[in-house]
């Protein structure tokens, strides 16, 4: 406590002047006494002179002791101020932040990032220390909350939505790191750092969103087949009650319509399922060659039915990408199925697998020789329920969701869909996978290892 009082005193300038005079009080008193003696007595004996000088010397010794103490305190004070201003967190703070499992970032009083843990890098990307927080998180609400937190030194809580590359929701908590020692107790010293934590809410939000989207889409798209179903039912109950031929015809149409409804529901459900997982990157290794061979095998009957020959150009070398097996099957069966159905007039579908190079990842292209697609439709093919030709799509039992599903799956895999087409010359759909990253290769390696282990165990 006395230390703090002294600090407080030293801070004010008036006090410093008074203090100095006070510190020198002995010198002042002695010299004043000496002068008084000189003035009263006039003549000074040798002994009196020596005594006076000794007294002056002794009193002068008192002063440096006091000023030294003060100087030490001043140095201590500057050191503390420097420590308070220094912007890098110490090792133990870093250690604690590192151990947190949610993405956590430390920012200093100027809103500059000073430390972020491993989870941050994995979830939010590389955030370099030394850059302003608002450079990485531009969104207005977050910038505002950060400013408020820094200004008032009070905790802040908000919801943060990141729209790209995939929509993700976070609950963000900003808490000042208060340093409360026994010494200053409840005395509030402004905190040096703000801890910002991101809690991922994507899962919950997606579930909510899925329900809303599903109802919106389903209600709209199911209404048409449902209307025709109930129309036929009405007719069968009413005017066509005893008409044998009409009844058969109507029942056939009704079967078609109900099949269409169930296809629609299947597709909508799988679209929703994929959207649920949109923010999670798939990590399993998938071997493309065998996967595509499997897809073409399953679609062979459909190809025969449409009089289309499937030609497969797959290299012997295994080509592995990280992905989800069943989703990849869905992508390629949708694409090959489309090629068979809408390019049937070409009587040939070529499927080519190209191993990636250093610049580009592996790619699979599916080429048909059908009528092709008009250029104005191409950019919009992946929209839900967008059909280049409504009539043909209905005939071929399309739901208008096939390519939307493909796009969503590929988005999750960071892969691209490229469409090349020309009227009369067929269409080529190419799926380009991202460049092989070392991590994927590593995952491969470990997987191969574990496979070997398994074999050994057996």
């Amino acid at each position: 406590m006395p230390v703090d009082t002294a600090l407080l005193d030293a801070e004010s300038e008036n006090a410093t002047l008074l203090k100095r005079l006070l510190d020198h009080r002995w010198v002042l008193i002695v010299s004043f006494g000496g002068m008084l003696a000189f003035w009263l007595r006039g003549d000074v004996t040798l002994v009196a002179g020596v005594l006076f000088l000794l007294a002056l010397w002794a009193s002068a010794m008192v002063e440096p002791v006091a000023s030294q103490r003060r100087r030490r305190l001043a140095v201590l004070k500057t050191a503390r101020a420097v420590a308070r201003r220094s912007v890098w967190p110490d090792t133990s703070t870093k250690r604690v932040v590192s151990s947190l499992s949610v993405p956590s970032i430390l920012v200093d009083r100027d809103g500059v990032v000073r430390f972020s843990n491993a989870a941050t890098k994995a979830v939010l990307g590389d955030i370099k220390p030394g850059q302003a927080m608002s450079l990485h998180f531009r969104q207005r609400d977050l910038v505002g909350a950060l400013a408020r937190a820094l200004e008032t030194d009070q905790p802040q809580q908000l919801e943060y939505t990141e729209r790209f590359p995939v929509e993700r929701w976070f609950s963000v908590a900003m808490n000042p790191l208060r340093f409360e020692t026994e010494e200053n107790g409840s005395a509030i010293e402004p905190s040096r750092f703000l801890l910002i934590q991101f809690q991922d809410l994507s899962e919950q939000k997606r579930t909510e969103r899925m329900r809303v989207d599903f109802i919106a889409n389903a209600s709209h798209e199911l209404r048409t087949p449902l209307a025709s179903l109930s129309g036929f039912v009405e007719t069968l109950l009413g005017p066509a009650r005893d008409d044998e031929t009409a009844r058969m015809r109507f029942l056939k149409i009704m079967r078609e319509q109900s099949q269409r409804m169930s296809r629609l529901i299947d597709d909508l459900l799988s679209l929703s399922r994929i959207e649920m997982k949109a923010h999670l990157k798939p990590t399993d290794p998938v071997e493309l060659g065998s996967l595509i061979a499997h897809v073409t095998d399953t679609l062979a009957p459909l190809a025969r039915e449409n009089n289309v020959k499937l030609e497969l150009d797959v290299s012997n070398q295994p080509i592995t990408v990280s992905g989800a097996q069943d989703e990849m099957v869905q992508v390629f069966s949708n694409l090959v199925e489309n090629a068979i159905k809408y390019g049937a007039t070409g009587e040939l579908v070529e499927i080519t697998l190209i191993k990636g190079s250093v610049e580009s990842g592996p790619s699979v292209s599916i080429r048909d020789f059908g009528p092709g697609i008009a250029s104005e439709h191409v950019p919009r093919l992946t929209e839900r329920f967008y059909r280049a030709d409504v009539e043909t799509s209905r005939q071929k039992q399309g739901t208008g969701l096939g390519l939307a599903i493909v796009k969503h799956i590929l988005n999750r895999h960071s892969a691209r869909l490229d469409i090349q087409t020309e009227i009369g010359n067929g269409a080529t759909f190419t799926v380009g996978f991202p460049k092989m990253v070392e991590e994927a290769a590593e995952a491969n390696g470990t997987n191969a290892d574990s496979a070997e282990n398994n074999e050994e165990q057996q």
């Binding site: 608002s134 207005r140 929209e383 967008y386």
Partner: protein, 234 residues
């Protein structure tokens, strides 16, 4: 980049970059909100977008003042000069993006009560998704000074242009089908055009980022696919 002898100079440059990022955040938010207001017919949200534009304008003025003051005081050379010029340009681009978003918001209010065909709404959503992705990517590239991403954005604009052409044709068809659609379709057409313009601003920003890093603007023509002005529906 090495630090300057005068640390205040560094602080000035940092403040410029911070303000640009802030402008980026506001205009991104405005664009997203404006399109949401359009799709959901939410006039409350639309009004907020219109109000937000003032903040963006103020920030742009501040960036301009700061940039001019820094040039006058520090007489920057080479990469510093490019950085300041780049921030001036990007601030201008972002301010224009905000104006376009405001225009979309105004049209969203005007379109209130009109039933929009879901197919067109999907189309507008699609083009705006592409554009917002471009803008977000280019702003990330600005922060990280990532020329590769900027170059990707610069080359990727043709997708948006193709999308716009497709929407343009579709809107024309709707208008020809039923003259009663004309007023709402015209609003939607301008919205689509505004979104496409925002995409162009994103490529401009990408160009500026490349200029800032390398000192030269990419010279070869970008692939263009916007033929809507010459496309006629018979």
């Amino acid at each position: 980049m090495t630090d300057h002898t005068i640390s205040v100079y560094d602080a000035e440059l940092r403040t410029l970059a911070k303000h640009i990022a802030e402008m980026g955040g506001i205009s991104e938010g405005m664009i997203g909100d404006a399109l949401r207001a359009l799709v959901r017919a939410d006039s409350f949200l639309a009004k907020r977008v219109i109000a937000d534009d003032r903040d963006l304008d103020n920030l742009q003025r501040r960036v301009e003042e700061d940039a001019v003051r820094t040039i006058a005081k520090r007489q920057p050379m080479a990469s510093d000069l490019r950085e300041i010029i780049a921030s001036l340009r990007i601030a201008g681009n972002l301010e224009r993006c905000g104006d376009l978003a405001k225009n979309i918001a105004r049209r969203a209010i005007a379109l209130q009560g009109h039933a929009l065909p879901p197919k067109l709404v999907h189309g507008i959503e699609h083009i705006s998704e592409l554009t917002q992705a471009q803008l977000s990517r280019v702003l990330d590239a600005y922060v990280t000074k990532d020329v590769e991403t900027a170059d990707f954005v610069w080359r990727n604009d043709d997708e948006i242009d193709a999308m716009y052409t497709s929407l343009f044709r579709e809107l024309l068809t709707y208008m020809m089908e039923d003259p009663r659609n004309i007023s709402s379709c015209t609003h939607l057409l301008f919205c689509a055009k505004n979104v496409e313009r925002i995409g162009d601003h994103a490529t401009n920003i990408a160009e500026t980022i490349i200029y800032q890093a390398t000192g030269s603007v990419p010279s070869n023509e970008r692939p263009k696919q916007d033929n809507s002005s010459t496309n006629l529906v018979h």
